[in-house]
């Protein structure tokens, strides 16, 4: 392998790429559009309070205290609905697409004062378990408080709640490393699969085999190009995520190994997929079969911590999982031990795939 020839090949790769606006769009602009799109959709998920429509049929001090206790949990934002009857409350909630609702019945205050048993009614939507769970917890907490007060007791055990990791993260914080991983995967994979299969069909590799350029050099210059592209793309995503959506992520040097090894892995995998296919059409299918599961199941759009155990087991056989987990470890959690393990795994997979690609990828025939 000669650096001189890689250096000769690199400008050709870059010109081929930069003179093709579609390639540039998908590599640099598309991930940013995704950040914008997902950032806007999930902009409010960092603030977990849920709007809670309340049908207040009792106007006593006790019901006011109960609503204050609800608001104080910070989990719900109480909204009193007026001019609604008890019988139409459920249908009005449905019409307003409200997943939860609470009814404080008449005689609530009197019941509490007289220490007689009285129930509030909570409506929830099984289709939105997150909101239902949050509101149930808030209502339960307020009920317990009032019960203690009524019994003249005070709680003995309290809870000091903290977020996993060292600080609290919003969705956009997870999205940045995830989408950097997305760009590391998709840009080289789609382009290499198509390139390798069509170049082979057109006899282009046979032509290159008549020059001193070797397969390893050809592959290396593409890996270098995609590393450069990944660095630019990651910088743009960080800029948009931090400046545009207030993402709170670290930008440590420890990110760099992943920005290097990721393109190394997926350029090689793209070449391998393009090499084993007999035609460009088959190559596209193989490319999609390899790429799509990784695109969605490696923590690109959603943190893998939300995955069920079977889904997580699938994620853990996908190489991109370790790239994104590693990026999360260094950018969000500052967990360098875990990042080092992830890096080791990706590096080993990359070397194996690189070698497999070189062996499989022939540019002349027997």
């Amino acid at each position: 392998m000669k650096l001189r020839r890689i250096a000769a090949d690199l400008p050709i790769v870059s010109r081929q790429f930069t003179r093709n606006p579609i390639g540039l769009f998908f590599s640099l602009v598309f991930p940013i559009i995704l950040i914008g799109l997902f950032g806007l959709i999930f902009q409010n998920t960092g603030n977990n309070s849920v709007n809670l429509p309340v049908l207040l049929l009792d106007h006593s001090n006790e019901s006011s205290s109960f609503l204050d206790a609800l608001n104080a949990t910070g989990l719900v934002n109480v909204q009193i609905w007026n001019n609604v009857s008890a019988s139409e409350f459920s249908s009005k909630l449905y019409a307003a697409e409200a997943p939860v609702g609470l009814v404080i019945p008449p005689g609530f205050g009197a019941g509490v004062a007289a220490h007689t048993s009285i129930n509030v009614t909570l409506y929830t939507d099984p289709g939105n378990p997150a909101a239902s769970g949050t509101v149930y917890a808030a209502v339960n907490s307020a009920v317990t408080q009032l019960n203690f007060r009524a019994a003249g007791a005070h709680p003995v055990i309290g809870v000091h709640a903290l977020t996993v990791g060292s600080k609290s993260f919003a969705y956009i914080d997870y999205l940045i490393p995830g989408l950097i991983g997305f760009a590391i995967l998709t840009s080289p994979m789609f382009s290499m699969v198509e390139l390798v299969s069509t170049y082979r069909k057109d006899g282009f590799f046979r032509q290159l085999s008549l020059t001193p350029l070797t397969r390893a050099e050809w592959l290396s210059s593409r890996i270098l190009w995609y590393i450069g592209l990944t660095l630019v793309s990651a910088a743009l995503m960080l800029l948009v995520g931090i400046e545009g959506f207030g993402a709170k992520v670290n930008i440590p040097l420890a990110m760099l190994p992943f920005l290097f090894v990721g393109p190394f892995l997926f350029v090689s995998l793209g070449m391998l997929a393009g090499s084993v296919a007999k035609s460009p059409e088959t190559a596209a299918v193989i490319g999609n079969v390899v790429t799509f599961p990784m695109m969605f199941l490696s923590g690109t759009f959603f943190p893998t911590s939300t995955f069920s155990p079977p889904l997580l087991a699938i994620a853990k056989v996908l190489p991109l999982y370790y790239v994104i987990d590693g990026l999360n470890s260094v950018m969000l959690f500052g967990n360098s031990t875990r990042a080092l393990t992830d890096f080791g795994i990706v590096l080993v997979i990359s070397v194996v795939i690189f070698l497999a690609a070189i062996v499989t990828f022939k540019w002349r025939e027997e």
Binding site: A8, Q16, G203, R206, Q207, T211, P212
Partner: protein, 309 residues
């Protein structure tokens, strides 16, 4: 003069198909060798084996003393190749392409000078995908010159080119020969082979059916020279009765086959004595194309077998 290319008993089989079937020939250094044959005859398979792009099934092949398949990288430093349909990165300009190849080969060239040699300097900064078919072939030729090759393999370099562009390529090939380079040319165009080649081999169904200089091939397989003039059938009948030569009449021509040059004098003497009218005297001679068509046709009809068998 040492041989640049030496092929002995070369065979290439794909399953039961014998694409190349026991081909032998040599090409002396500094000569233009034309490899002729109809489509599917085995030309491209042979040339690709010589270039090291394809492995052979049997036989020995040496190009500049190297085995093209085993010593590919070493050989490629010394040869230039234009494949049948030359392709390049579609967004790259010819000037950039020449610089690219020069860097790969580690040679120093003036890109414009190389492009000028193939009449492509005006398109030095046009994207490859905007070039015409002929201009693309010219770029292929330019790139094959970048490493200053001793042997050039040109696989149908003028196919699809307009007559002017074709003549341009011929000039380049003549210049390459004058510089002492060996040129291995496959072509469909018999005229091209006649004009350029020192030596010709005709391949058909994987076997060489004739080889030698164009003159030798015409002498071996062509009809004798004919004295031709415009005249009526009565002249043909008169000459047939008076001369010991074959006389044919394809109006408006009467052809008389000559065994020796001197026979022409005897024909003209008899013709003059006949007092019959005739006009436009000429000598008709078979071209390489006539011979090629006849050889390939006769082999297809089973009349002749190849030299190899």
């Amino acid at each position: 003069m040492p041989d640049a290319i030496c092929v002995e008993g070369l065979a290439k089989r794909y399953g039961t198909l014998r694409a190349v079937d026991g081909v032998s020939f040599t090409v002396p250094e500094g000569r233009v060798f034309a490899f002729l044959g109809p489509n599917g005859a085995g030309k491209t398979t042979t040339v690709e084996i010589l270039e090291g792009l394809r492995n052979r099934s049997a036989g020995s092949v040496q190009v500049l003393g190297l085995d093209p398949w085993k010593d590919g990288p070493e050989l490629h430093e010394q040869i230039g190749v234009i494949p049948q349909e030359f392709r390049f990165f579609d967004k790259i300009h010819p000037r950039e392409a020449v610089v690219y190849y020069a860097r790969l080969f580690g040679s120093t060239v003036d890109p414009l000078a190389i492009l000028r040699r193939v009449y492509l300097e005006k398109k030095a900064d046009a994207r490859f995908d905007t070039l015409s078919g002929g201009q693309k072939q010219k770029l292929g030729l330019a790139l094959s010159l970048v490493n200053n090759p001793r042997v050039l393999f040109l696989d149908e370099p003028t196919t699809g080119l307009d007559p002017q562009a074709r003549r341009g390529i011929w000039e380049v090939i003549r210049a390459l020969r004058a510089e002492g380079r060996t040129v291995f040319l496959t072509t469909h165009y018999l005229e091209e082979a006649s004009l350029l080649a020192d030596q010709v081999a005709i391949i058909h169904r994987g076997q060489i059916i004739s080889s030698g200089t164009p003159e030798q091939i015409i002498a071996a397989h062509g009809r004798p020279d004919r004295l031709r003039f415009e005249a009526g059938p009565e002249v043909a009948r008169y000459l047939s009765g008076k001369l010991p030569f074959a006389v044919t009449n394809e109006p408006p021509y009467v052809d008389v086959e000559l065994r020796r040059k001197q026979d022409a004098l005897q024909v003209l003497t008899v013709l003059e004595a006949s007092q019959l009218g005739w006009d436009h005297l000429s000598v008709a001679r078979d071209t390489l194309e006539d011979v090629f068509v006849r050889l390939v046709g006769r082999m297809d009809d089973g009349v002749i077998k190849s030299e190899a068998s």
